[in-house]
Symmetry: C2
Subunit: 313 residues, 2 copies
């Protein structure tokens, strides 16, 4: 048995996970991220002990604790080098955690944990090499090579959302202009939908949000498109082109056997996947050979817990 | 001892290489690429035997033969799946070669061989993870992870030149628009130089080529810039921006410990490297951690032979 901790800016989620990546029991508490790291990590440890006990297990049944966190962890040193939204800088995660629980502690970036989870127990469990892209506030990504996370020599690799596809394009949060994330994230889609709604006040988009553009979400353009709204259809078509452009870049670079897409936008299912797969098929560099399969993520929000737990496997 | 064969569209180059990646003896003959593959491979075998004999060695001293070729090889099956410029489709390289020489035969893409050579015996020999980019007719690239070539599940990965940095931009030979290769290759630089020369007939660029724009090469804009020509300086500045944009993408994705740049343009040395390093330093996603080092390739045209030889190591 393994403990997986998904440390987020809002909540700390802890799960007891078996060797197949199945969650036996889980629980969560608010992070209260403004506190000192020592208090947050104490809560993480106490919740871990509670989850183990509530599930009817004992500490001796647990092999290790894995922590998935935003930012750049250094697992070798057991340190979270930095995580902006937690205001953590060089936090000794392992040392702090081991004050409360004497077990091996692994730390890893949360997007990498999600990718590992899909590789061990989700959409990519049948292949050795996979990449998981999560379309949310940003474009998260994790690279799995031979069932292990690949993150470069300094643990900071796999930032596929921060590869420029439109040089000098939209401002990205990372400081560059034109990153894939600025176009293919839910945030990017919402911006594109809002711009289209402003330009086309008669569009169904405006009706769907009762004229309140702040209500536009990642679903809005898709909903409008499905009702036959040409403005919505154009937004969706353009969004999928941005998404495809980055995915083809990823495939040409990595040729993973499986490319997994997660995040709320995936609920659109074939409405998203079908045109996406066609664009990708048309644009990849090497055509007359086995092709990367594109699938929807299977583990949803549990991926963070499962991937963190599997760090110790 | 190992035999390394660099199979090009123009020449077949064969080298006898020791375990450190040092060429003991080498020789080359024209490919005459319009011939049937069986004749070309027979010549490759006969030249290999000649190189071994001329160096004073015997077949029993040789551990393996490696072949670096353009296109997409499948080393598992020993087949060159396709190579456009040789008109090779599903050519049984290993089987043909072993008709003449009974040794293990490995085949690999030529850009990947160049990257392996730099990783074993060149600019990246002191690190485990490196990427080598070659700026020539195209942008070649090879990814080395733990001193081994990474090329994805179908041996076609590592096509970093075919990642789009300017969506809907310049037409690329691969069918997409805006690939890094279309901007950062020597071909791309020559196009940019020619366009600037046409727009600015008084530029030193035009004088350097006696008004004959077909004489513009990868050096021309750099030569003009060094003479103080503002048009040449602008071309060089823009070219380095394109180069940096793609390199930052590569670093954010892979975080290799070393990024090696090869090809004729590298002869510009610090005139290229200094502004490039500054742009990259400013734009990478993760700043307060160890950074990828950028170096010029060391092995030049021998990289193909050395890398091919090292496939069997």
């Amino acid at each position: 048995m393994y403990i997986g901790i998904d440390l987020g800016g809002t909540n700390i989620a802890v799960g007891l996970v078996d060797e197949n990546g199945t969650i036996i029991h889980k629980d969560s508490i608010p992070t209260n991220a403004s506190r000192h790291y020592s208090e947050i990590i104490r809560d993480m440890a106490q919740l871990s002990l509670k989850v183990i006990e509530d599930a009817g297990y004992q500490l001796k049944d647990i092999k290790s604790i894995g922590i998935g966190s935003p930012g750049t962890p250094n697992n070798e040193k057991g340190i979270l080098v930095y995580a902006n939204n937690l205001q953590f800088y060089n936090v000794p995660m392992r040392e702090e955690m081991q004050k409360y629980i004497d077990l091996p502690v692994y730390i890893e970036n949360d997007a990498n944990c999600a990718a590992l989870a899909e590789a061990v127990a989700g959409a990519a469990k049948d292949v050795n090499n996979s990449i998981t892209i999560t379309l949310g506030t940003g474009v998260g990504s994790g690279i799995i090579i031979n069932k292990k996370i690949y993150s470069g020599f300094n643990y900071a690799g796999g930032e596929l959302g921060h590869t420029v596809i439109v040089m000098d394009g939209e401002q990205c949060t990372c400081g560059r202009k034109g990153c894939w994330e600025a176009y293919a994230s839910a945030t990017g889609l919402i911006r594109q939908t809002r711009e289209a709604a402003v330009k086309n006040p008669d569009s169904i988009i405006n009706k769907l949000v009762d004229g309140d553009l702040d209500k536009i979400g990642g679903k809005t353009a898709f909903d409008a498109a499905k009702k036959g709204d040409p403005v919505g259809q154009k937004v969706v078509e353009t969004y999928i082109r941005y998404l495809a452009e980055g995915i083809v870049n990823v495939i040409n670079a990595f040729q993973p056997e499986m490319l997994v897409i997660g995040g709320g936008i995936c609920k659109e299912g074939d409405y998203l996947l079908k045109p996406l797969r066609e664009l990708v098929k048309d644009k990849v560099y090497s055509k007359d050979i086995p092709q990367t399969e594109i699938r929807i993520a299977q583990l949803g929000n549990d991926a963070g817990i499962i991937g963190a737990a599997m760090l110790g496997k």
